[in-house]
C-alpha cells in the first residue's frame, strides 16, 4: 500500500533515537512521540499532501492480468516464453517490416526510449516486435530489419530487439490474447502485392509479467519513457 512507510519508519526511528539509547522513561516518551509523528505522517500521506502514487501515462487496464502468451519463435529460431523475461519491462508491438511508415516510427520510438534509459535500466527493458506478416518476414528478414534499429542506438550495450514470428494459428492466438488484429489487404496493382492492416498499439508488460497498459500509435515518447522507467523501478523493489 505505502511502499514509503518502511523507509520513513526507519528514518523516524533514527531521528527519535539518534544514539540508539536504551529505552528508559525518556525512551518510552520518545517512542510515543515518534508514534504520534508516524500517525500524523500516515494521515498526511492519505490526504495526499506528500507525493501521490505514480499515475501511468498510457492506457492502464482496469483489470491488469498475466500477459497473454506469445507462442512464437524469435529471429534466431528459439521458442519465446514470457516467463524467461520476468524482472524486465516488455514493450510488445505487432507490425511488419514491409510497412515503411508507422512501424519504423514506433520501433524508432522504442529504440529512443531504450537510449534514454541508463545502462542498468536499459538492461531491464525489452522491446519485442511481433510480425503480422510471417510469409515475408522470415527470421532472416527480421534479423536484418531489427539489426538496423539495434545499430542505430550507436552503443556497444546492444539493444537486443526480439523479433517474433510463427505460423498463422500461433499468430492468431497471440493477437487474440492482446485484443489486437491483423488483416491482409491485397493490392493487385501495387508492387507491394498486399499490405497488412494491423493494430498499431504498444502493449506494456511489467516485471512481474502482468499486462498493465497500452499506448496508442502516436503516443509521446516521453510518456512511454516515464512509464517504462517507473515500471523498471517498481520491478526492482523487493
Amino acid at each position: 500500500m505505502f511502499p514509503k512507510t518502511q523507509p520513513l519508519t526507519a528514518r523516524l526511528n533514527t531521528l527519535a533515537h539518534p544514539a540508539r539509547r536504551p529505552a528508559g522513561a525518556a525512551g518510552r516518551s520518545r517512542r510515543t512521540l515518534s508514534r504520534v509523528c508516524l500517525a500524523l505522517l500516515a494521515s498526511l500521506l492519505l490526504a495526499g499532501c506528500l507525493p501521490t502514487a505514480y499515475k501511468l501515462r498510457g492506457v492502464p487496464y482496469e483489470r491488469p492480468r498475466p500477459a497473454p502468451a506469445l507462442p512464437l519463435t524469435d529471429q534466431a529460431g528459439r521458442p519465446f516464453a514470457l516467463a524467461d523475461h520476468r524482472g524486465k519491462v516488455l514493450a510488445i508491438y505487432f507490425g511488419y517490416t514491409f510497412c515503411p511508415d508507422v512501424c519504423p516510427i514506433t520501433l524508432a520510438q522504442l529504440t529512443q526510449v531504450w537510449r534514454e534509459l541508463g545502462a542498468a535500466e536499459a538492461a531491464r527493458f525489452q522491446p519485442v516486435f511481433v510480425t503480422v506478416d510471417p510469409d515475408r518476414d522470415t527470421p532472416a528478414v527480421l534479423t536484418r530489419y531489427l539489426a538496423a534499429f539495434d545499430n542505430a542506438v550507436g552503443s556497444d550495450r546492444g539493444l537486443g530487439f526480439i523479433g517474433l514470428h510463427g505460423p498463422a494459428d500461433a499468430l492468431a492466438a497471440a493477437l487474440a490474447g492482446y485484443g489486437a488484429q491483423a488483416i491482409k489487404r491485397p493490392h493487385p496493382s501495387s508492387a507491394t502485392g498486399y499490405s497488412m492492416d494491423h493494430t498499431a498499439s504498444i502493449f506494456v508488460i511489467d516485471a512481474t509479467g502482468t499486462l498493465v497498459e497500452w499506448f496508442p500509435y502516436g503516443a509521446a515518447e516521453n510518456d512511454i519513457l516515464a512509464d517504462v522507467r517507473h515500471l523498471i523501478q517498481q520491478g526492482s523493489r523487493p
Binding site: C99, P100, V102, A148, S190, T192
Partner: protein, 144 residues
Amino acid sequence: MKPNAFLLLTLVLVLAAACTPVEPGGPAGIAVTDAWARAAVTGNSAAYMTLRNKSTVADRLVKAESDVAGAVELHKTTMEGGMMKMAPVDGVDLPAQGQAELKPGGLHVMLIGLTRELRAGEKIKLKLYFEKAGMQEVDVEVRK
C-alpha cells in the same frame, strides 16, 4: 552619371538580385520543400515532403521514380480505431494555389524494394511527375 554613383547602383542591383529568394519550381510550377526519406538498411522506405501549387489551376502528383528502389508508388497510411491501414493512391491532389503535405502517418512516396541502403545524411534523387507541371527532379535528404 558619375562613376561613383554608377558603381553604387550596380552594387545595389547585384545585392538585391542575390537577396531575392528564388522560388523553387519556377514562378508557376510546384514548389517542393522539406523533402526527406527515412533511413533504411534494406526492404522499403518512405519519402515525405510539402508540395505547394503556385499555379491558378489545380494539379496532381501522379507518379514518382527513383533509382534507389525497385518500385516507387504513392501510398497513404490511415489510422482507424487503432488499426493502421496502408493502401496505394492514384495521385495526390494539389488545388490551385493550394498544398499537400506528405508526412509520417499519412501520404507518402513509398520506396519499395530498396536497391541499396539509405544512410542518414545523404541525398537521393526523386523524380516527381505532375499532371500539368510535368516532371520535377528533387533532392531528398535521408534522415533517421
